[in-house]
Amino acid sequence: MTTRATEALPISVRNVTKTYGPVNALDDVSLEVKSGEFLTLLGPSGSGKTTLLMVLAGFTRPDCGSLKFGDDEVIRKPPHLREVGMTFQSYALFPHMTVAGNVGYPLRLRKRPKSEIAERVERALETVQLGGYGERRIDQLSGGQKQRVAVARAIVFEPRILLMDEPLSALDKKLRDQMQIELRHLHEQLGMTTVYVTHDQREALTMSDRIAVVNHGRIMQLSTPRDLYERPANRFVADFIGESTFLPVRRTDSDVFYGDTPLHYSGDLPETPDLLLMIRPERVVLSANGPVEGANNFTATASNVVYQGDSFLLHAWLQDGQQVVMRGAVRGNSATALPVVGDQVTLTMSPEDTVLIDGREA
């Protein structure tokens, strides 16, 4: 199996700004990627996540800022001297070379002896489970195989940093799910510092050690997947990751009211009077026996019920006209228990699941 010849490198991005005319593609971005970490840049299209990756690879020249791989300042280094592996959204496999020709390309550029190239190419192909595919033409490969060849080519010269630009976006869902696990496994095996770009929040949650949510050229939040989902820093992050409903709440010092009802909540409140109550559909429970002591209870009227096999979605009007969505599990005998439109229901949320977020537009 592949042995690690070199240690992974940390990446340090400091105050990087890139403007295109009046648009800030990157707005004073600073980011530390730990050695060996799998970090995902997550954001909608046009958020600046790809621009940041292009700065890391050296294809986009920022207006200012510093970029260090380990202790080396590389911001002015041309891409071909940066020694980082990269995979492209289009795979960018050279169509005039075979699979082995593609994977061996970086080694030929480094003037390695022929026998060593052949051996390392085969080993890289085996790492991505394509052993023996060397003589295939690129147009004979399926999408998933192309993706693997692209990965093999990016790791064959043992770079200490790996950049991946939406590598799975062209694959169908089933293959994508499988490749997510494989790439994650590969990362654990090779241990190189990996920066991964995607707009798919589920992919980011599945694969990453940490996720940086990017919007308008700024990093909105940098945390572990779990923190990001459960403690989003602001409304944009909460909205982008998972589904949620937001209810306006009133704050008096450390007390928070929804309407006239005080809320039980956990964790610290953000430093702003402008708070929103975030309701994740799966963190709300339908209470059969009315209000639950010690939890937050909402009385609502069912407006729509959707059966989705593994679960059901309930849209309900609160008494003040706000609409909330909840997701409930469907179990064998619960078909009779599903609410019907017009039912009065009690929705409860435990204090641990009651999260108040910064309601200001970030």
Partner: protein, 298 residues
């Protein structure tokens, strides 16, 4: 038995008739064009073959072909024709490839402007352009005057009525045929390929030669083939700018008819030229798909 088949395969005869009628209609639509090709291409070329085998005495003979092999002047004409074609093609590549590369790097609006200037000569008569070169290149022409006033050379250079003039004119006329497919091939190259090469450690020069250039070769071959084949049968430009010193096959065919009224000799040369062209196309088609000529190598 037949009853069960009929019920298992409903409407079979009707559908088959529909298909036959559709093919018939398509054939009907294309028949005028096929008739035209028959009248203006197949019949004349057949006639050409026929005449080439008729000797001076009006009977079947191979003398028209024997003459071509025996007389050194004929062989020289074929050699000249190849020489001019190879040189023109080579010069077109040397000038056209960098120009196409330059155009491919430009933003679209500028590139389109360049494309129009490349195509502009197509909309001017070939004869006009050739005579324009005659005016420019002659002893007292603009090129000589300017070069001398700039001190590039002292005596007026002889750059027309010879091989030089012929090549200048032909390269100018053939250039678009090379540039268009090459430009098309270059535009079709995904920028990601070059970024990938660079990311994997290729210097810009290395990336060009290992990735960019190989990906443009189908377009380059297609363009070069087109130029070469057009050159083989070219007449006006060498006739005007060659000053009688550059004699190509087409010119000899004309003089055989106009001067010597020898239709047999002229036809034989035409046949040989046609066969040579077809052989070159056949060889080329083994290395590239000919439809790439129109698609810019994609």
């Amino acid at each position: 038995m037949s009853m069960t088949t009929a019920t298992l395969r409903p409407n079979e005869t009707g559908l088959r008739t529909d298909g036959r009628l559709e093919r018939l209609r398509l054939f009907g639509l294309s028949s005028p064009a096929m008739l035209l090709i028959l009248v203006i291409l197949v019949i004349p070329v057949g006639w050409l073959f026929y005449v080439s085998f008729i000797g001076a005495n009006g009977e079947f003979s191979l003398e028209n072909y024997e003459r071509m092999i025996k007389r050194r002047s004929y062989i020289r004409i074929f050699i000249t024709t190849f020489q001019v074609s190879v040189l023109t093609t080579g010069l077109c590549i040397l000038i056209g490839y960098p120009l196409a590369y330059f155009m491919a790097q430009l933003p679209n609006r500028l590139a389109n402007l360049c494309l129009i200037t490349v195509l502009l000569p197509f909309w001017t008569s070939l004869l006009v352009r050739t005579y324009a070169w005659l005016v420019l290149l002659q002893k007292q022409g603009l090129v000589n005057q300017w070069a001398m006033s700039l001190g590039l050379w002292d005596e007026p250079l002889k750059i027309v009525h010879n091989m030089t003039g012929t090549l200048i004119g032909m390269v100018h006329i053939m250039l678009p045929f090379l540039i268009l497919p090459v430009y098309g091939a270059m535009k079709a190259i995904d920028r990601d390929y070059l970024m990938a090469a660079s990311n994997l450690g290729a210097t810009p020069r290395k990336a060009f030669w290992t990735v960019f250039f190989p990906l443009t070769t189908p377009g380059l071959f297609a363009g070069a083939l087109m130029v070469f084949i057009l050159c083989l049968g070219f007449f006006v430009t060498p006739a005007v700018l060659g000053g009688g010193k550059v004699i190509m096959v087409s010119m000899k065919i004309v003089s055989n008819i106009e001067l010597f009224v020898n239709w047999g000799a002229a036809s034989a040369m035409g046949v040989v030229l046609l066969i040579m062209t077809l052989v070159i196309l056949w060889i080329a088609s083994r290395f590239l798909r000919l439809d790439q000529i129109t698609s810019g190598g994609r």
